[in-house]
């Protein structure tokens, strides 16, 4: 086990290096002027100021020098103030958000986390349930319906689905609005009496005892959650189904049936735990994916998470901001993948022995 974890940990610096190089590589498409947003607040206007910035931050230096400087930033000789340096959490300055990229992320990330929190159960649990039903009734009605659903689901673009939901539930029925909060709820949150404990709106509103705000926040998340469920159910259905079918074919299941166990016990106590091993990984990656911000879903429903922030920055060609988000996303993914892999090895001994 220890050996496996060490081997897996050794991969982390490698991936970190790779992802930073990849993003740094994309930065090289920018001119030095545009890249100066990595270090300074205002893009220099005059030729002279520009030369100064380029010189100061070494934007004309060889690539490996620039890469290093991008990682650790530069220290001002006199004031000792640090500029840039992604390792110190300085991702540059966002033109679109008119604030440092890092604080933009800090402001948006709780919203994405909030959405993830409420989307996990419907997305994963229902998806797995569907898959198990399809496998247990192999080739039966549920299985066929599930098959059609997973093909249609995979073909129906997220944004078309989202727009149709908006058409029906917002513009027609006026039930669920897009965005994050209604105006009145927003005023409550911004007022001095509303204390922020976790930055997650749903949790905070409960802690503040404002059920009305909680309900409002949840109402705004309902359409995104439904959309995310619908996108992911198809995948969960397919993976759970095939994993479950494979498990049900194994001999120990026959043994369990031969012992005279009830079919429910065979399926839920004997088959399901083993079939879940592959599904656990998928679930892990799904949660990580949700945390990384779901670009399209958040954009369609105007939900101010990090996915929408990245999309907005991209649409306005604010590359430094977009790359900052990519970097953040990459970091989350690398760490989370590590956690998922280790959990996987704990759950399934076959992995760490191979």
């Amino acid at each position: 086990m220890t050996a496996y974890i060490i081997r897996r940990l050794l991969l982390v610096p490698l991936l970190l290096f790779g992802v930073t190089v990849l993003i740094f590589g994309m930065l090289q498409f920018l001119t030095p002027v545009e890249r100066s947003a990595l270090y300074v607040r205002d893009i220099p206007k005059t030729e002279k100021a520009l030369d100064g910035v380029i010189k100061k931050y070494g934007l004309d230096q060889p690539l490996y020098v620039q890469y290093w400087r991008w990682l650790v930033g530069t220290k001002d000789q006199i004031t000792g103030e640090r500029n840039g340096g992604i390792l110190f959490g300085d991702f540059g300055f966002s033109r679109v958000g008119s604030q440092p990229v890092a604080s933009l992320i800090k402001q948006r990330f709780p919203n994405t986390l909030d959405l993830t929190l409420w989307a996990v159960a419907p997305v994963i649990l229902v998806g797995i349930w569907l898959g198990i039903q399809a496998a247990v009734h192999h080739n039966g009605f549920i299985d066929q319906a599930g098959r059609i659903f997973s093909i249609v689901g995979a073909s129906f673009p997220t944004f078309v689905f989202g727009l149709l939901m908006l058409m029906i539930f917002y513009s027609k029925l006026q039930w669920f609005p897009p965005g994050r909060l209604s105006d009145w709820a927003n005023q409550v949150v911004l007022s001095g009496s509303f204390r922020s404990y976790t930055s997650l709106l749903t949790i905070d509103s409960l802690l503040n005892g404002r059920i009305d705000v909680f309900w409002d926040a949840l109402k705004h998340m309902l359409m995104p959650i439904l959309t995310l469920s619908y996108i992911n159910w198809a995948t969960f259905l397919r993976v759970t189904r095939s994993s479950m079918l494979e498990t049900l074919r194994q001999e120990y299941i026959t043994t369990a049936r031969a012992k005279g166990l009830r079919e429910n016990d065979v399926i839920f106590k004997h088959a399901r735990p083993n079939a879940m091993i592959t599904v656990v990984t998928l679930a892990g990656f799904t949660v990580v994916g949700l945390m990384g911000g779901v670009v399209i879903t958040e954009t369609v429903f105007d939900y101010p998470g990090i996915g929408k922030a990245a999309a907005d920055a991209a649409a306005q060609l604010d590359v430094v901001t977009v790359l900052g988000f990519a970097l953040f996303n990459g970091l989350i993914l690398i760490i989370a993948n590590l956690v998922v892999d280790i959990i996987y090895a704990v759950v399934d001994p076959r992995v760490r022995l191979s």
């Binding site: 790779g18 093909i151 078309v160 727009l163 027609k172 670009v295």
Partner: protein
Amino acid sequence: MEKSVALGDTNLLTEAVNLRRIGWLERVLGPDNYRVIQGLFKTPASIIGFVLITLFVVVALAAPLIVPPVTADPYKIPRDGFKADPQPMMSPWTRNAPDLPFWWKPIMKTDQWVHIFGTSQGQYDVFYGIVWGTRTAFKTGLVVVAAALLIGVIVGSISAFYGGIVDNIIMRIVDIFLTLPFILAALILAAVLTPRIGRSLIPSMVALITFGWMGYARIIRGDILTIKERDYIMAARVIGVKDGRILFRHILPNAIFPTLVLASLAIGDVVLSFAALSFLGIGTEIGYADWGQLLSFARNWIISLDRYWYIIVWPGLTLTLFVMGWNLVGDALRDVLDPRLRGKS
């Protein structure tokens, strides 16, 4: 050798093995690959898929006959004025209307063009955009898939053929490219490239290629690894055939077929991703015949979508049917190629 057996010129063998008649297609492709093709035409779902794909091919090819282009650049959707609000379906087309195509009078019974599917914001005709957008879809889909396939096959072959440290390094590079979520990675690269190249199909296409080759590299690598161990490869080595020739003449032709088929069916996914990028506001200039962009117009009319439903329903349906066509065939293919399910149905 196989051919002479297949033709059944020895009576003894014919009786013993009870040979089937083998068509030209099977002879060209070989039995394994032929079985894959056969599997594709077996289920009703995949046949519906093929019908849908054929339909779109016809629309793409016949685009100038369905809606004759108005300006020199047929991909620019003609505008009926500059009003912001979408106009309803079947409203008359007064300015910049195309010439009447041959099918118009018998079917529509009038001499006047109407906006069959209405107009979107800025009076872009939705029907025109859908028809010519089909060409855009095939163009982007084919180019992206071909380029990604080429890169994937080259990288995957080198990785599998040389093995060892080369394989290890290449596969780690593949891992790194797979770290970022696909759509985010493509979005970033397209955003980086757009100021350099300008708004056109190219930034999105380059982005989709750059982050789209890894799957092919992995598949071809796996197939080559099994073929590499076959006796005839060993025989080629023994008689001193050079590496490049072994790879290109002996290994690749035998390993590439599943990758090729998978790639050709990825066109649906590529078009979907391309539309997603357009929807997010990256890609072609405003007014280009592109399904994703038509859909992105709807983002400005969210409050009144119940009135302007036609600006999402028609382009959305078109995109969905296009992707579904490829997915239906792809689903049949997965069943054929998945070795665990082989012979079980």
